[in-house]
């Protein structure tokens, strides 16, 4: 069964500019179709303002779609909102959303009651979750004194308090130190198979490591949907080769390199020390780099160093969406 399913999901906003000034329509989410099978960690990536949070808010019943339809855990987000809420845990990024004057434990207990967790089960469940997010020893402290990372981990525990089959995590590792981020990623990875997770993040290595599939959303539209490896191969290669050469290269050399078989893209960047870095994305790595080096040799270009790196999801993301953001 599909845990999350949308069809032509759309949301527009009126840009408010002030009293008496006419609003203009802004399309935040533009005919999005998603089909996320149960038990998958699914990444939703995109620039700032691309429409990720708006999508998550519609799927979690906080926003009513302008058009289209969506089902979560089999329930329609408009017609059967209460069932959707019962089956869903949500982390919205940032450090708001918890009762600052209550302790960590009281927060979780309260949310447990809001979600109708049976009375006898709330206590043990809350204690287990506090341990899971490493807040067991701070359970009796008020949330107002928590660091951002601690709040973020408490948010995750809150989203799990009623043991929902579907989780939406909107930038769950934002503002976390490296160790805490690793811990949160471990927790998310540990939820895989058992739960369906829809994850947004700007840390693309995180998406690469965690997600089974990824959709890239740009200006409200899904532009690519694939596995992380599939997305990288769509860009045309699986490796990047960085060749440092002395002096500047002319346009002709660039064209020559671009026309070699197996080369997907060529990028030139002069560096401060009088060198130029050529970045080649190549499919048939060894042969293509060989050919490139021979071509450079024939052109009397002096090669200083050659380095090879795996193509990252970030490279693919930037190639697909362009480097702009709003």
């Amino acid at each position: 069964m599909l845990a999350i399913e949308t069809s032509d999901l759309r949301r527009t906003f009126n840009r408010s500019r002030g009293l008496f000034r006419g609003g203009e329509e802004l399309v935040a989410v533009d005919d999005v179709d998603l089909a996320v099978p149960e038990g998958m960690i699914y990444g939703l990536l995109g620039h700032n303002g691309a429409g990720k949070t708006t999508t998550i808010k519609m799927l979690s019943t906080l926003l009513i779609p302008t058009a289209g339809s969506a089902r979560v855990a089999g329930f329609d987000v408009v017609a059967d909102e209460r069932s959707v809420r019962r089956n869903l845990g949500v982390v919205l990024g940032g450090d708001r959303g918890l009762y600052n004057k209550l302790t960590a434990r009281d927060n979780l207990v309260y949310f447990g009651h809001l979600y109708g967790v049976p009375r006898g089960a709330v206590g043990p469940r809350v204690d287990a979750l506090l341990d899971l997010v490493d807040l067991g020893d701070r359970a009796a402290d008020r949330v107002e004194g928590f660091s951002r990372g601690m709040k973020q981990r408490l948010h995750l525990a809150k989203a799990l308090v009623h043991d929902p089959p579907v989780l939406f995590l909107d930038e769950p590792t934002i503002g976390l130190d490296p160790a805490a981020a690793v811990r949160v990623r471990e927790i998310i990875a540990g939820l895989a198979r058992e739960k369906t997770v829809l994850l947004t993040t700007h840390y693309l290595h995180e998406a690469d490591a965690l997600c089974d599939r990824i959709a890239i959303i740009d200006h409200g539209r899904i532009i690519v949907e694939d596995t992380p490896a599939g997305i990288k191969s769509q860009v045309g290669g699986d490796r990047r080769h960085l060749i440092s050469v002395r002096g500047n290269l002319n346009g002709w050399t660039r064209e020559l390199l671009g026309n070699l078989p197996g080369i997907a893209s060529v990028d030139l960047e002069p560096t401060d020390d009088g060198l130029t870095t050529i970045t080649l994305v190549a499919n048939e790595s060894a042969a293509s780099v060989d050919a490139a080096l021979r071509a450079l040799h024939q052109e009397d270009v002096e090669v200083d160093a050659v380095r090879t790196a795996d193509l990252t999801l970030e490279d693919a993301f930037l190639a697909l969406t362009g480097e702009r953001s709003e």
Partner: protein
């Protein structure tokens, strides 16, 4: 049928959990512990001397001292209801927790009532203590014919305060600047509901307002059973009127709450301050 029972049960649990949370949140501030005894005490003292200065030594069948004793009880009840339940959605909004709350399947109405009940529980004890102290100090004579009638009148007044805050909860969400609104309707209700002066002493037009606020019927009933020995029979008219109006207000409040939540989710302004 069993679904209805289940829903009522889960709403009661949500209401109780919210009341506990609201009590904890309120008592987290030391000033609240001082404020609740001071609030009725200071109001009482200033009103008492206002009556003194006006040279009044009787109010209806009782003394100003006795009349105001029940009056301050209504005032604290009403203030805590408006600033907790009435203000609930607005507090959630400014605390940044409104999305967390509305993501849950919990009944919004149960949450609003939980807020009111939590705040009222916090105030009841200090107000009782202050009222008892004042009664002893000023030698107020109580005349209670039927303790059951006192219980009924008290519950009726509570219901009236809850119903009025419930109606406001929905209305306040619309304004998104609820404190301005709450501030300016708080005091007129003191006047119009017979808390500080008898409704009969007000101009005719204002008496009509008093009639539509269920709290004024509750004040009448509570004064009757505490000060002039009224029986259950004698207050039943006021109580019936109160229950009727309260039910209407609750139904209107429920409708408003649902409509307002829907409108905010439609406009995308739910979590806007």
């Amino acid at each position: 049928m069993s679904i209805a029972i289940q829903q009522t049960r889960s709403s009661l649990l949500v209401c109780a959990a919210t009341a506990r949370a609201e009590m904890r949140r309120t008592l987290a501030y030391t000033i609240e512990v001082v404020r609740w005894p001071l609030f009725p005490l200071l109001y009482y003292v200033s009103l008492y001397f206002t009556y003194e200065a006006a040279g009044r030594d009787s109010v209806g069948a009782t003394t100003p001292a006795a009349f105001l004793l029940v009056g301050i009880f209504g005032m604290t009840l009403w203030s805590s209801a408006i600033w907790s339940g009435g203000y609930a959605v607005e507090s959630e909004r400014s605390a940044g927790t409104i999305n967390s709350l509305f993501l849950s399947p919990a009944s919004r109405g149960a949450v609003v009532l939980g807020y009111s009940l939590g705040a009222i529980t916090v105030f009841v004890v200090p107000t009782m203590v202050v009222a008892t102290g004042l009664a002893l100090a000023l030698g107020v004579d109580f005349e209670i014919a039927d303790p059951l009638a006192v219980g009924v009148a008290f519950c009726a007044l509570l219901l009236a305060a809850l119903a009025m805050s419930y109606l406001l909860a929905g209305a306040f969400v619309l304004t998104r600047r609820a404190n301005m609104f709450a501030n300016f309707i708080q005091s007129p209700i003191y006047l119009l509901s017979g808390m500080v002066v008898p409704v009969d002493d007000l101009p005719r037009v204002l008496q009509w307002f008093a009639y539509i606020f269920p709290i004024s019927a509750g004040m009448d009933a509570l004064r009757g059973v505490l000060l002039t020995g009224a029986t259950l029979d004698e207050i039943s008219g006021s109580v019936m009127r109160l229950v009727l109006i309260s039910v209407v207000l609750m139904v209107a409040g429920q409708y408003l709450l649902e409509r307002v939540e829907h409108a905010a989710r439609n406009a995308g302004t739910l979590d806007f301050e």
